[in-house]
């Protein structure tokens, strides 16, 4: 089984790109990733592409061949859709393809164009990640679903909803120096607590923004990296994926995410690591409560202790396990299909020491990407490790 190297990364700025087509956003990210890897489009043997709602956003299905063309790639191109985990599932498929020798060099990317839909349109579009019959028709929105999870968590552990604000404050603060982030501005706990409610107990600052953007990374086999003298010090050493009931009402617990637990268990086993080995993590904080559930599912904290740990600063730059040094979805932004790929791009820079927040880490070697779809009915976890030696 071939080891998988990350040879290049590319991202558009995340934010509002009014009028820019998805194909143009992806072309920017894909070309950046290829240039970063110092490879040509002709070197790429497969495109794995994540996108959630291109049909709704810009009336464009069948995006993979179109977007391959936009980057100049003439190779098999396949789209992956798993709601907000679309990017993560594309990464996982790309890792598997390189591992099993089907391809030596692949481009994996994702795009979402959302802001032109407006708040109501995007809210409606995002809701299709839920069960249409038993959730959407019952008035459940995406923020409403996470609000139900938050409500259940706070009730189960007798926790204070205001404490969620500490996660929003941390992620905004981390994003201040991230030039690709949707928001590069700090907020206070008071800002978050006093903001209008979107779906109680969650307010405006508990929610990630609606963003446009694209991300791409080049994955190669270790032998390809050696043969082409690529600067690719970071490897993907573990990949895992889990599934849960789509509808919240069908789950045993509203405040646990077993799909992410399964994904983490698989990825950790492949990489032969434990949660204690992890130096930093990019997790799917579409809402503040989602980061709490993620850090518990990844084993950083026991169930019921994630929120208190966040309040105590354990996940800040100075904490025991820095989480979302990029700003996370919360402040970096969440162009849905791009998110899972962008996490890989951010972690690659963090482990390479080239990230704007690299000074928060002391010689890091292991990073984790946690990407979730819907209310975590799909979850992917990837383990990235800095392994400079090449065995080929």
């Amino acid at each position: 089984m071939a080891n998988v190297r990350i040879a290049g990364t590319g991202m558009t700025a995340f934010g509002e790109h009014a009028g820019r087509t998805g194909r143009d956003l992806f072309a920017e990210a894909g070309i950046d990733a290829l240039e970063d890897a110092q490879l040509d489009p002709d070197d790429i043997e497969e495109l794995y592409y994540g996108n959630f709602m291109g049909e709704l956003a810009e009336h464009q299905g069948h995006q993979a061949p179109l977007f391959a063309e936009a980057v100049g790639i003439d190779a098999p191109a396949t789209r992956f859709e798993a709601a907000c985990a679309s990017g993560g599932t594309a990464v996982r498929a790309a890792v598997q393809a390189v591992r099993n020798g089907e391809a030596d060099a692949v481009l994996v990317g994702g795009t979402e164009r959302m802001t032109d839909m407006g708040t109501a349109g995007a809210t409606d579009g995002l809701s299709i990640a839920a069960d249409d019959l038993y959730e959407i028709k019952a008035g459940m929105t995406f923020p409403g679903a996470y609000a139900l999870m938050a409500s259940a968590y706070l009730d189960a552990y007798d926790a204070d909803a205001d404490d969620l604000a500490h996660i929003a404050v941390k992620n905004h603060d981390n994003a201040v120096v991230n030039e690709k982030a949707h928001f590069q501005s700090a907020i206070t706990v008071e800002d978050a607590v006093e903001a209008p409610r979107v779906a109680s107990p969650l307010g405006l600052y508990d929610a990630c923004p609606i963003s446009d953007g694209a991300a791409a990374v080049v994955l190669t086999s270790e032998s390809f990296a050696a043969d082409h003298d690529l600067d690719a010090p970071v490897s993907v050493t573990g990949t895992g994926q889990g599934t849960d009931n789509l509808a919240l009402q069908d789950r045993e617990s509203l405040y646990r995410t077993p799909a992410a637990e399964t994904a983490a268990e698989t990825a950790y086993a492949e990489a032969d690591i434990t949660a204690a080995d992890v130096d930093c993590a990019e997790v799917h904080d579409c809402f503040t409560i989602a980061e709490v559930l993620a850090t518990e599912s990844l084993g950083f904290f026991e169930p019921g202790e994630g929120l208190a740990a966040a309040k105590a600063g354990e996940t800040t730059r100075d904490g025991s396990i820095p989480v979302n040094l990029s700003g996370g979805l919360k402040a970096k932004g969440h162009p849905v299909g791009a998110t899972g790929v962008a996490q890989i791009a951010e972690l690659t820079k963090l482990l390479s020491g080239t990230h704007a927040r690299s000074d928060a880490l002391d010689d890091p070697s292991v990073g984790i990407a946690h990407n979730a779809g819907g209310t975590v009915a799909t979850a992917t976890v990837h383990v990235l490790e800095r392994t400079t030696e090449v065995d080929a």
Binding site: D124, Y134, K137, G139, T141, L148, A152, D155, V198, A199
Partner: protein, 127 residues
Amino acid sequence: MSPEMRHNGYDNLLDAIEDGEGYYLACPEGHGSLPPRRVCPECGSRDLTDEPLPDAGEVVAATTVSVPGPKFADDAPYVTAIVDFGPVRLTGVVRGTDEEPGPGFVVGVDVEETTTEGERVVTFRPR
């Protein structure tokens, strides 16, 4: 937005709830699920039978939605809740109470119309 069409199974259940004859699907192991299903999601049994939906259930979690989707624009703010009826849980809009209900609040299930478009929606009212 979902196209206007009938969804057999789901719409049959709403018809039954409107008639006061709500039901759920039960497998021989006692697992409950909601139609349309051919397989018990818990154990894989294909031997599913209709059983009467309990008359009342308890709120598991509730939220007051202030930013709705277009089909609920004129309904907001409204309360969405997941209610536990024992063998199955249902999601719907809570009506008939001014307070956002907490866990354990007892409700019955009905089918009413949304304010925005007059579409059928599962509702819960205090019992």
